[in-house]
Symmetry: C2
């Protein structure tokens, strides 16, 4: 079952551009991650320091096991981790209904 | 600028199917809403009582003004509101980066 990882990040004041740049540099890490089929970064309108990363995985374990135990996960955190104001909030969702 | 509404709902225990059924019945309300181009319901893997509704709008005001002030918004809340365990959390996001 396809799952969407929804990771929420609160970024330290003034580090938004650095965070976005780090996320851009991390695109190849996700591109080559097993089972990963898309990655997008969303920014909150109401609170511009609040971002969401949407990453689509073929199965939950492609993210929670394969990716998280890989060197590329460490690399990802090196690129963006210093911009986090708090620990990220990560949840996985699956589609309950495709309205249109 | 296209915005994605991310609405988070905590559903009362045992009312998940009723909530999903209400959301299904509400599809036509969103289909005819001005500026609304897609609507999907996502369910959390970690907490199955936690849902997210993703609704894509042509502009923020199509949601916050046109839809929220419409009779169809009242209709939507009639279909699902009794299933909410708490007030929904609604945020709007725009795409900061389309990785792939």
């Amino acid at each position: 079952m396809v799952v969407l990882e929804v990771a929420q990040f609160e970024i330290k004041p003034g580090m938004e551009q650095e965070f976005e740049e780090g996320a851009r540099k991390a695109v190849p890490l996700f591109r080559r991650a097993k089972g990963c089929t898309s990655m997008k970064l969303l920014r909150s309108v109401e609170n511009p320091a609040h971002y969401r990363l949407f990453v689509r995985w073929a199965t939950l374990e492609h993210h929670t096991v394969d990716f998280r135990e890989s060197n590329d996960f460490q690399e990802w955190r090196k690129l963006v981790g210093h911009c986090f104001a708090a620990a990220p909030n990560v949840e996985h969702v699956h589609e309950a209904m495709d309205g249109f």
